[in-house]
Structures are given as structure tokens and as C-alpha cells.
């Protein structure tokens, strides 16, 4: 088994499976915070998927996407926190 096959046929599916697991938590919730956390984690896992994918395709370009994901994902969490705090204050 080559490194390519290993990454492509074993690790990539495992990461995708992790995504599914995370997504199950996303669906279950129960609180919105759980969803926000899982969303964040989904993105992080996505970065992993992209990194592995870039190795298997020999395309470093994809790492740039990982970079953007890493940067921007954070803002989502911040915004949700901001929202939750404000909503809570208003109530």
C-alpha cells in the first residue's frame, strides 16, 4: 500500500467519518452552544480533510483554503457568542 493509498483510502474516510460523528452531535444539540462548537470543530476537521487531500492530489494550493478556513471559522464562533450574550442581556 502506498502512502497515497493509505491517506486516500484510510485516513480521508476516517476524517470524513469524524465529520459525520460531529454532525450527529450538531443535529442532537441540545443547546445552540453545542451546535456552535460542533460547527467550529467541523471546520477544523475540514481543514484536516483539505490538508490530506492536498497531499494525495499533490496540490499545495489547497492548503491556502485551509488557511482561510482557520482564519474565518473563529469569527463565526465570536459572532455566535456575541449574539448569545446580547440576547441574554436583553431578556
Amino acid at each position: 500500500m502506498t502512502l497515497y493509498d493509505y491517506l486516500y483510502y484510510i485516513l480521508l474516510p476516517i476524517l470524513s467519518f469524524s465529520i459525520v460523528l460531529l454532525f450527529i452531535r450538531f443535529l442532537k444539540g441540545p443547546s445552540i452552544v453545542d451546535r456552535v462548537i460542533t460547527l467550529d470543530l467541523l471546520i477544523t476537521t475540514g481543514i484536516g480533510v483539505i490538508a490530506i487531500y492536498s497531499i494525495t492530489t499533490n496540490q499545495p494550493t489547497f492548503l491556502d483554503i485551509a488557511m482561510i478556513l482557520a482564519l474565518i471559522a473563529f469569527l463565526g464562533t465570536v459572532a455566535f457568542s456575541y449574539y448569545l450574550e446580547k440576547r441574554n442581556k436583553n431578556e
Binding site: I19, L39, F62, I68, F80, Y82
Partner: protein, 776 residues
């Protein structure tokens, strides 16, 4: 010299328009002097047209064409022949008198200038109608007469009845106008020309055409509405809401005769067929009898005159329907006869109304003592109307009987109808012209004064003419009547207008008519009771039916509009989608092969399937979750999954952008959401199922469409070109970016413009608060 004269014909028509435009701007400053001066316009035109009479009498037909919209085949083609001349003289001549009359009648009225303006437009338009050779330009002028009529009927527009009548008249004549438009366009197409003169040579082609019936019906529609034929007659009594000069000029002497003119004009082109003749005879006869009977039941002078006018118009249509030379001759003569006496009677009525303040015939009597010249005019007109020799009316009546008596098998029936009509018309004329002046003067009217000569002279002139022509018919015989009859296509024998034909059947019939009519006048007394009696039948009157139809139609339009535009956005969306689904679905089902080339598709891999799976569940979750926030977060998941798909399929820039934008959207949502109320599930189960089915069908359609397209070959020459030139010419290696900033830079340019506008929108939508202070 000749040429300049010809040109004048266009200018002659334009004069009226120019006159009224002039009034728009200068009218206010001319009010006092205006009135008399205005009358010079029609007078000048009358003289101008009179100048042609000699040449017309010599059998000349004067025609001149000015190009207007040649690419549509529309010219200002004018023809002056016998028929046109009669009408032109009537229009300008009576116009002159009415203009003068108005000066006194509406003296000091604040909107006198407007009134003259409308009259000017009307006169010009009417001249346009009767002079046009090009049927499109005829239509143009025809419509203008309807419009000016609308403004004149509604002149006293502060009264609701007046406005209503104006709209009703416009609705009826407007409908007719549109029928005429269709008619002339089809006719023009069939004949291959819009020129009436040129059509004469293709008479057979037209008659044999499959569209002949349609053309004739359309033209009838126009003529009948304009000339107030049964059952379209009812707008005319309503139109009497207009000031009397208008009733005189438009609704008795000229405009209503436009329909008659139209029929006459088209007689040589379309006439002499069973359809043409029978329809006109039936409609004309019905109208003349029906309207004549109606005069009995009226007490308002103008009402009486209105119905008698309708009846007279019926007579004219009837005569054109007979279509024999006799009949057409009679028609030509009767037009003049009627114009003279009816105009007189209207003007007289106007004076009575103006001076006594009432038009109620049951109250009017003895006015000869205070309004002698008016009484003379009235009585003279009544005489001509009655056809008592030696009036012009007598001539006319003779010719009518002449025509009916010689009309083959139906001669007896038609003659009887004509007699009945004439008897009733006589009665009506006596009521209007004699009744107010005879008998004892009620005390209330003792202080009535004779108005300015401007008012009584015009009717007197007209009435006198009605007698004079009767005495000397040769005045008009050669110069007007003969050319007119020739123009109608009857070039047979020479015409002789004589007062005295010796003792014959016709004379007997005339005598009978006069006798019975006079008897009727002495026996019958118009009364409110009679009027009330006929009012009981109103529910089946054409007007009521039309109004009911209009009302029902209004209801119908409210119903349909309310049905279509019901206010529910989701319904709008459904309709549009349904429409799309049906159309595309139909086409797809008809043409789809359902053969997909699976081999060309890329292989499924675990991670892709899982990504798609997450996305599908994410979408479903977005749709069905009860929490808005969860839905928004789920959209984040969907966005991420899409980004991953873009990654898998070689679109790094897309993945980046999709992801960043999705995050941004989620943030915006989150920032906005917390002020909103909870997600409510408004719709019930059934609705959801229905919507669900529609949505699924729509989605399936898109899927099938996508697969269909994928099974077609595609080779993009763009791709290769970009690949080759991206670096060499555009100096970039990220081809997507090169496309964005260079090959298709304008797209990107406008994309940022869109963003800018959106930002302005957001800014102003949230920041701008219209307060009561800055609201207006």
C-alpha cells in the same frame, strides 16, 4: 396657384387645431373679444370650401396627399368630392353659427376659452374625417371627434351626471372607434391600400375576400355607435348634458353623422351586398321607429330632440341600406334637411332654456310674445321638419317615400315604417318648435327678454334656409347633391329636385303624414306620467343592460384581480413555479432520452459520499428545524460542505470564497436574529404536504435537466484559450483570477458595484428613519 390651394386643405384642417392651441395660451386674455372673433374661423373655412363648389359641381374630385408616416402607409390624403363637400360646408357653416351663438349663450362663463378650444378641435377633427382619403387618417380624426365630444359633454364637469354621460359616450363611441380601427386595418390589408380612392378599383377583391363579413361588421360597429343606432343609441340622450351649442353642433348636426358619412363613404367600396343592405335597412328601420316612438314619452325638450335625432339618423342609415339611387339621393338631401331644422330646434331650445330656465315642455307656452324672432325660427324649423310645402323638408320627405316605394317586394312595409316615423318626427318637431310659443304665456315667463341677436339670429338663418332651399332647390341641386350622389357611385341619371311633382301617391303620403302628425300633436299631450310610464320599462332598455353589464364586468374584474393578486407571497411563488414546472416538464417529457452515460461520471468515493450526505441532512435540518439559530448554524454546515465539494473538484478560489461568504452570512443573520420573534410554524399539515410535493417536483425537474445536459457533449473553446493565454498575455497563473480581473474583468467590476449598492442599502435601511418632520 392650384398647389397652394390644395395645400390649404391641410392648413384648413389644421386651422382648428391651431386655433385651440392658441386659445390654451392666449384664451384667458381674450375672453371678452374672443367670442365673436372665434366665429370668424369657421366662417373663413366655410367660404373657403364654398370656393370649391364650382369645381366640384363640374365633376372634379380634388385630392392631395401629404406624407405623414409613409412607413406605416399612413398619409394625410385628402379628397374633396360631393359628399365631402356637403359635410364640410355643414361642419363649417353650422359651426360658424354655433360659434357665434355660443358667444352669447356662454357669455361670461369662466371657461369660455376652453369651450372654444374644444369646439375648434372638434371642428378640425370632423373636417379631417370627411376629407380623409386615407382610412387610417380617417380613423385618427374619427377618434379625435370622440375625444373632443368627451370634453364637451363633460363641460359642466362639476356635475356627476355630466361626467357620467361623458364617460358613457366615450365608452360607446370609443368602442366603435376601436372596431373601426380593426376594420380599416383589415380592409387595408385585404385591399392592399389604405386609400379609399384606390380601393374602388379592388371592390371585387374585397367582396370576395374571406374577411368581407368581418370588415363590414366592424365598420358597422363603428358607424352604429357613432351614429347612435339601436341598440347603441342611449349615449346620445345622455350627451345632452352638454351645453346646448354642443348638442346642436355635435350631437345632431355633425358628429353623429360621421357614422352616416362612413357608411356613405364605404358604400361604393363595400356596398351592394345582401349583408350590407339588409343589415342597414333593419338597423336603420328599427332605430328610426324605436326612437321616434320614444319621443312621445319625453317632456324635456332636449330629450325629445335627442330621440328625434336618433330617429333621423335611423332614417339615414335606412336610406343608405336601401342603396338605390333614389335612396342615396334622399339620404344626401335629408342630411341637409335634418341639419338645418334640427340645429335650429336645438338652438331655439337653448334660447328657451337660457331665458326661462326650464326645458320642460309641459311648462312652456306662449313664448312668442316675448321671443318673437325665436318663435319664427322655431316654427319655420317645425314646418321643414314636418315636411310641409314649400319647405326643404317637404323635398326630403318626398324623396324618402320615393325611395321606399320603389324598393321591390318590401316597398309597402318599408313605406309604412317611413310614414310612421315621419308622423312621430313631425309630432316631435311641433313639440319643440311650436308648442313653447303657442298658447297663453305663463306669468312666470312674462319677464323673459329676447337675448342678444347673436343667439336668435343663427337659428333664424338656419330656419330661413330650410324654407329658401325648399323654394329654390336648384341652389344645391347641381352644386352639392348631384356631385354627392355621383361620389356615392350612382352616376346614372341626372337629378332633378323639384317641389312640385304633381298629384301622385307620394303627395298623398306626404299629406297623410302631415295630417296624422298634426292630429297627433293636438291630441297627445306630453306629460310626466308618460315619461314615468316608460321609465318602468327601463330595466330592459339597452342602456340599463349595458350599465348592468358594465357593473357586472367591474365585479368580474375585481374578482379576477383579487384572485390573481391576492397578497400572499407564497401563492405567487407557487404559481410561478407551477407555470415553470408545467412548461419545462412538458418539454422535457417530450424530448428526454433518459439515457445517462454513467461511465463518463467520476467514481464515488467514501469521503465525497459522506460530505454529500452531511450536506443533504444539513439541508433537511435547515428546513425542518424549529430553531432559527439552529437553521442558521446548519447553513454554515451546508456552506462548509459545499466548500469541500469545491475543494474536491479543483476549485480552490471558489472554496475560499464560498466559505468566507457563508460565514459572513451566518454572522449577519446572527446579528440580526435576536430581535426577531420566534420561528412559528404557521401553515398546517396539508399545506406543507402540498408545498412539499411541488418543491420535490421542481427539484426533480432540475435534477433531470442537469443529467440531460450532462449527457450532451460539451467542449468549451474558452477554456483552452484562457489556458493558453492566461500567463502569456494576461501575466497570471491562477486562471480563475485572471478571468476575474482580466478576461471577464467587467463582471467583477460590476460585482463590486453590486456590493457597494447593497452596503448603501443596508446603511440607509437601518439608519434612515422617516419622522413626521422629515417625512414630507
Amino acid at each position: 396657384m392650384l398647389l397652394t390651394l390644395y395645400k390649404l386643405m391641410l392648413i384648413a384642417i389644421l386651422t382648428g387645431f391651431l386655433f385651440s392651441i392658441f386659445l390654451v395660451f392666449a384664451g384667458k386674455y381674450l375672453k371678452g373679444r374672443l367670442a365673436i372673433l372665434s366665429a370668424l374661423v369657421p366662417l373663413g373655412l366655410f367660404v373657403y370650401f364654398l370656393n370649391f363648389s364650382k369645381r366640384i359641381a363640374n365633376g372634379e374630385v380634388i385630392s392631395q396627399t401629404f406624407e405623414w408616416v409613409p412607413s406605416l402607409g399612413v398619409n394625410l390624403g385628402f379628397t374633396l368630392d360631393g359628399v365631402s363637400l356637403i359635410f364640410a360646408l355643414m361642419i363649417t357653416g353650422i359651426g360658424f353659427l354655433v360659434f357665434a351663438y355660443t358667444a352669447a349663450y356662454l357669455k361670461g362663463h369662466e371657461f369660455l376659452d376652453r369651450f372654444y378650444g374644444y369646439l375648434g378641435i372638434f371642428m378640425a377633427a370632423m373636417l379631417g374625417v370627411v376629407l380623409s382619403d386615407n382610412i387610417i387618417s380617417l380613423f385618427v380624426f374619427w377618434e379625435l371627434t370622440s375625444i373632443s365630444s368627451f370634453f364637451l359633454i363633460g363641460f359642466n364637469n362639476k356635475e356627476e351626471a355630466s361626467r357620467k354621460s361623458a364617460i358613457l359616450a366615450l365608452a360607446i363611441t370609443g368602442t366603435g372607434g376601436l372596431l373601426l380601427l380593426a376594420g380599416v386595418l383589415i380592409l387595408g390589408n385585404v385591399a392592399g391600400t389604405y386609400s379609399i380612392a384606390e380601393m374602388l378599383s379592388s371592390k371585387e377583391v374585397i367582396a370576395d375576400s374571406a374577411h368581407y363579413i368581418l370588415i363590414v361588421l366592424l365598420i358597422f360597429g363603428a358607424a352604429f355607435t357613432k351614429s347612435a343606432q339601436f341598440p347603441f343609441h342611449f349615449w346620445l340622450p345622455g350627451a345632452m348634458k352638454a351645453p346646448t351649442p354642443v348638442s346642436t353642433y355635435l350631437h345632431s348636426a355633425t358628429m353623429v353623422k360621421a357614422g352616416v358619412y362612413l357608411l356613405m363613404r364605404f358604400t361604393p367600396v363595400l356596398g351592394s351586398t345582401e349583408l350590407w343592405n339588409s343589415t342597414l335597412i333593419i338597423v336603420g328601420a328599427t332605430t328610426m321607429v324605436y326612437a321616434a316612438i320614444h319621443t312621445i314619452f319625453r317632456t324635456d325638450l332636449k330629450g325629445i330632440l335627442a330621440y328625434s335625432t336618433i330617429s333621423a339618423l335611423g332614417v339615414l342609415v335606412f336610406l343608405i341600406g336601401l342603396g338605390t339611387q333614389d335612396a342615396l339621393l334622399a339620404a344626401c338631401v335629408f342630411i341637409l334637411v335634418h341639419a338645418l331644422y334640427k340645429a335650429t330646434l336645438f338652438l331655439v331650445t337653448g334660447i328657451i332654456d337660457h331665458e326661462t330656465g326650464t326645458r320642460d315642455i309641459t311648462k312652456l307656452a306662449g313664448l312668442r310674445k316675448v321671443l318673437l324672432p325665436v318663435a319664427i325660427a322655431g316654427i319655420l324649423a317645425a314646418i321643414s321638419n314636418a315636411g310641409i310645402p314649400p319647405s326643404f323638408g317637404f323635398l326630403g320627405k318626398d324623396l324618402i317615400y320615393e325611395a321606399t316605394l320603389h324598393f321591390g317586394n318590401s316597398a309597402v312595409l318599408l313605406t309604412i315604417l317611413a310614414i310612421v316615423t315621419n308622423i312621430l318626427l313631425l309630432y316631435a318637431g311641433f313639440l319643440a318648435g311650436i308648442k313653447p310659443f303657442t298658447g297663453k304665456l305663463p306669468t312666470t315667463f312674462e319677464k323673459v327678454h329676447l337675448p342678444s341677436f347673436l343667439m336668435w339670429l343663427p337659428p333664424l338663418i338656419l330656419a330661413t334656409l330650410g324654407i329658401l332651399i325648399g323654394l329654390f332647390p336648384s341652389i344645391i341641386q347641381g352644386s352639392l347633391i348631384q356631385p354627392a350622389v355621383t361620389a356615392l357611385g350612382e352616376s346614372g341619371s341626372e337629378i332633378q329636385l323639384k317641389l312640385w311633382h304633381g298629384f301622385n301617391l307620394i303627395l298623398a303620403l306626404s299629406a297623410t303624414t302631415i295630417g296624422v302628425g298634426a292630429l297627433l300633436y293636438f291630441i297627445m299631450k306630453p306629460s310626466q306620467k308618460l315619461e314615468n310610464g316608460i321609465a318602468k320599462l327601463e330595466f330592459i332598455a339597452p342602456q340599463t343592460l349595458v350599465e348592468k353589464f358594465g357593473f357586472g364586468f367591474g365585479k368580474f374584474s375585481r374578482f379576477t384581480t383579487g384572485l390573481i393578486q391576492n397578497g400572499y407571497l407564497r401563492y405567487y411563488v407557487s404559481v410561478i413555479i407551477l407555470f415553470l414546472v408545467i412548461l419545462t416538464g412538458y418539454t422535457l417529457i417530450q424530448n428526454t432520452k433518459y439515457v445517462f452515460d454513467y461511465d463518463s461520471f467520476s467514481v464515488l468515493t467514501v469521503y465525497e459520499v459522506l460530505t454529500v450526505l452531511v450536506m443533504i441532512v444539513g439541508i433537511l435540518f435547515t428546513v425542518f428545524t424549529k430553531s432559527r439559530l439552529a437553521a442558521v448554524a446548519a447553513m454554515g454546515v451546508v456552506g462548509l460542505a459545499i466548500s469541500l465539494i469545491f475543494v474536491y473538484y479543483s476549485a480552490p478560489d471558489l472554496a475560499m470564497t464560498q466559505f468566507s461568504i457563508d460565514t459572513l452570512t451566518v454572522i449577519l443573520f446572527v446579528l440580526v436574529l435576536y430581535k426577531l420573534p420566534k420561528y412559528l410554524n404557521f401553515s398546517d399539515y396539508k399545506v406543507r404536504i402540498k408545498d412539499g410535493v411541488l418543491s420535490l417536483v421542481f427539484g426533480a425537474l432540475i435534477t433531470v435537466l442537469a443529467l440531460e445536459v450532462l449527457s450532451e457533449p460539451q467542449g468549451s473553446q474558452l477554456t483552452d484559450y484562457y489556458a493558453e493565454n492566461a500567463y502569456v498575455l494576461a501575466k497570471g497563473k491562477n486562471v480563475v483570477n485572471v478571468i476575474l480581473v482580466d478576461f471577464r474583468g467587467i463582471d467583477t467590476f460590476m460585482e463590486i458595484a453590486v456590493l457597494t449598492i447593497a452596503a448603501i442599502g443596508v446603511f440607509s435601511l437601518l439608519k434612515l428613519r422617516l419622522t413626521s418632520k422629515n417625512r414630507r
